[in-house]
């Protein structure tokens, strides 16, 4: 049952990832709410889950020359410091607190998703 629910959670976020909405914003709450996974573990699963998914789509994007390396590398190089800081902070926080913090973050993103303007239609 747990395995089935895990696959289903992945399936759902996989579908949503393709739509440009971050899959993790669905996967992490699904894991903690339906499978009672610890918040840290759920976040770790999302990080791991990102590797194969990103690798596949990146392969296609690079082939189509859609990736702007000149911009990506400086942002990545400097941003890594942020990634170190964020990870360390996450790991020292208690799971219950991190879960609430994530909830607030999720709320903001849901809000943004609902109220942001539809750019595609605007440009056309």
């Amino acid at each position: 049952m747990k395995i089935l629910l895990s696959i289903l959670s992945g399936l759902l976020s996989g579908i949503i990832s393709g739509m440009g909405i971050g899959g993790g914003t669905i996967l992490i709450p699904a894991l903690t709410l339906f499978l009672s996974v610890n918040q840290h573990t759920a976040q770790g699963v999302n990080l791991l889950y990102f590797l194969p998914t990103a690798a596949i789509s990146l392969f296609v994007h690079i082939k189509n020359k859609s990736v702007n390396f000149k911009i990506a590398f400086p942002i990545m190089g400097l941003g890594v410091l942020g990634a170190v800081g964020g990870s360390l902070l996450a790991l020292v926080l208690k799971a219950a607190f991190l879960k609430k913090l994530f909830g607030i973050f999720l709320f903001l993103m849901g809000f943004y998703e609902i109220f942001k303007k539809n750019k595609k239609n605007q440009k056309k």
Partner: protein, 130 residues
């Protein structure tokens, strides 16, 4: 041609902008194990004048870098559940295919709003009922 102009204009901007966007996205991605793309995509579009498609593609590379770094820390602290991640990824790959096929039919403000509402409900549960 237009893209080239936009690119050179973007590159002339100070590295402070790159640093700010990267640091924030990296920080959130490490803290929440997700969400870096939510910051970096609008950042690339609005601050660096990248086209939507380029922004999405470039964001994946950037977040991949952040994710690998974060995984080292998560891994060392022993919070990784590889088995669970494998099952989830299996569903994820299938979902990715389905999503790609459905994308043309499904995209649209309505669907986004439905997922947005779903996120709000989940957010409330996480903050108040857990």
């Amino acid at each position: 041609m237009k893209l080239k102009n936009m690119l050179s204009r973007a590159l002339r901007r100070p590295y402070v902008i790159y640093a700010a966007g990267g640091l924030l996205a990296g920080f959130l991605n490490g803290l929440f194990g997700s969400g870096g793309g939510t910051v970096i995509v609008p950042f690339l579009e609005e601050c660096l004048d990248q086209e939507e498609h380029t922004s999405h593609a470039t964001a994946i590379l950037i977040i991949l870098g952040f994710t690998i770094v974060s995984l080292f820390f998560y891994g060392f602290s022993g919070t990784l559940d590889i088995k669970l991640a494998l099952w989830v990824s299996l569903g994820g790959v299938l979902g990715g295919f389905i999503g790609a096929k459905l994308l043309k039919k499904l995209t649209g403000p309505a669907i986004r709003k439905i997922f947005g509402a779903f996120m709000l409900v989940a957010a409330f549960r996480m903050v108040f009922f857990s």
